[in-house]
Symmetry: C2
Subunit: 347 residues, 2 copies
């Protein structure tokens, strides 16, 4: 209870959707939860890493999952709209893959209830990886001997039978569950090292809680309460109407979750995104219209809390948010299995 | 001399450009030559690996050197024309970066005399990485604290002064000199393990020499004699006029080295490319119009030697060429240096 006492009343918040939550400062778990239907194994993770980095999963042979969710950096592409096959630009900014295993739903609009479901989406999206169907993906992969072997090893059964769209998604999700960035300055602070955050960062943390950011960005991942997978923690953005912000950033052109559900109650609702490694993932917001973290903090306070922060408050919060940059696990580059003597017919 | 005796007369060839060469079967050197002006160091190699994989060296923030020269696979992109910024497609097939340190000139037309010179080209090519100038690249990199530090460590001097276009190219070239794939079945065979190649592969090797492939594809890298860097070993392609091949593959639309030099003697001249890892780098030839290695062998024999090979000869040579797939060194994924709280203004 020491931590709670330290941070006083700001730590017990009631979210606007009515879920009572203890906003103690919690460190990032070192392991992500796994669904019963897809327990992780080293063979599955290794296969997932290969698939994740293989551009042969796109119609042009040029785009892999890693193209827009680059694990060498912040887990995304630092662009407003991501670029898919044939230079097509998407309307939303790629969310980070780092720590995505701790999201209870996936995509900005939460339309995928799991990492497994998410993994299947971009591959057949015409402006992302552009494959006509997962049948086409499977047919392509089955021509690569290393893949039939790797699927059989990871999932058991006859070589050809193991190579399915579901298992490809299972393997990619298992790999993504390893993409966790612990030991940020904040995590060290939360687990007892009170010198891990600078004075300014500690001021920023307190301001972050006091002005109300933790209403939504709560929990160890700063993406809301850790709900069962598929539940989703959604908030309206913008919450407060603001003509000036709208004129400048055009936030409301995107209908948010409504675009997926066509349910009026979902208009402008978005999954609350994690703030971990947020210093590395500019530009910000669903449409990537905000270039700097300073602006992101100021605009969020205005749009979601109807508050105008002072420059000092903004600087302090930004300093604190920089303390959420974690340690990235070392990764060996995968070798993509050979398709000897031939190539596919790409767009 | 034992190897020479084994393979008889086919091993002493006189190349068509008059350089007498002993075409003994030679293993790949384990280390690439380094120019006096750019000795390799671990810090330089590490910086080069980072730069090589950083898409922030492109105007859109989406294309890195690795996009078209993917070291997770055969060192290129398995496409006929490579895809640059805004989905633009180039007219030539990306050559492999693996073992490119053993080319005496770079690019299909040999217009770069060194890896250092090559590394600067694609970054400012409007259909490749699309940067307006190297000054713009340097200005961008100077905003990333991890880069100023890494350049200073690798090249010495004041932090900002070390970050130059020349040093970026030097670092990338130093990294590329580590991309060597030794210990292929062929290399084991060449160094004494006579069981390393199958009987069919040994037949293929003999046929490869007897029909004349070694006239050009000689030496340990199968790209001609190892000449001093910048010299270049060029051949005309196609050597023999063949209306049927031309109608099908349109080889002569590209003027080859002439496009770079505007010298008539260079019309349809190309650098002789390595055959190492050739099984992994379909499609084939400068314009990537040949999808399979079988067709590549048949067409080369016809276009360069005016010979029609039997299906058995083709299969044997293809089997031998598959014996040129080497061992790829393990690589740790680089961490791209942070540009905290901000992003660049991309196209």
């Amino acid at each position: 209870m020491k931590k709670k006492a330290l941070w006083g009343g700001a730590l017990m918040l009631t979210s606007v959707i009515g879920i009572a939550q203890a906003a103690e400062w919690q460190a990032l778990p070192l392991k992500a939860p796994e669904p019963a239907g897809n327990p992780s194994t080293p063979a599955k993770v290794e296969l997932g890493k290969i698939l994740y980095h293989d551009p042969r999963l796109s119609s042009t042979g040029t785009i892999s999952c890693a193209s827009c969710h680059n694990t060498m950096y912040g887990g995304e592409d630092n662009r407003g709209g991501s670029v898919g096959v044939h230079g097509k630009v998407g309307g939303r900014s790629s969310p980070t893959v780092w720590n995505s295993a701790f999201n209870s739903v996936q995509f900005w609009d939460g339309r995928a209830a799991s990492l497994e479901a998410q993994a299947k989406g971009p591959v057949t999206n015409p402006i992302e990886m552009g494959m006509k169907s997962w049948d086409d993906v499977v047919a392509r992969l089955k021509q690569i001997p290393g893949y039939t072997q790797a699927f059989a090893t990871a999932f058991g059964g006859a070589a050809d039978a193991a190579l399915t769209a579901d298992n490809a998604a299972n393997a990619i999700a298992a790999y993504e569950r390893t993409l966790i960035t612990p030991n940020s300055a904040y995590d060290k602070f939360a687990t007892g090292d009170k010198t891990a955050l600078t004075e300014q960062q500690q001021r920023g943390l307190q301001t972050f809680a006091e002005v109300g950011c933790t209403t939504c960005h709560s929990g160890p991942v700063f993406n809301g309460p850790q709900l069962p997978e598929g539940t989703g923690f959604f908030m309206k953005f913008p919450t407060y109407e603001n003509g000036a912000l709208e004129a400048q950033y055009n936030f409301s052109a995107d209908q948010g979750r409504y675009e997926a559900t066509k349910n009026d109650a979902d208009r402008h609702m978005y999954k609350v995104p994690t703030l971990r490694n947020i210093a590395l993932t500019a530009p910000y917001f669903h449409n990537g219209k905000i270039s700097t973290l300073q602006d992101a903090v100021a605009v969020m306070a205005k749009a979601q809390l109807d508050k105008t922060l002072t420059p000092e408050q903004i600087n302090d919060i930004v300093a604190f948010l920089n303390g959420l940059t974690g340690e990235f696990p070392k990764q060996e580059m995968p070798r993509l299995p050979a398709y000897p003597n031939k190539t596919f017919s790409y767009d």
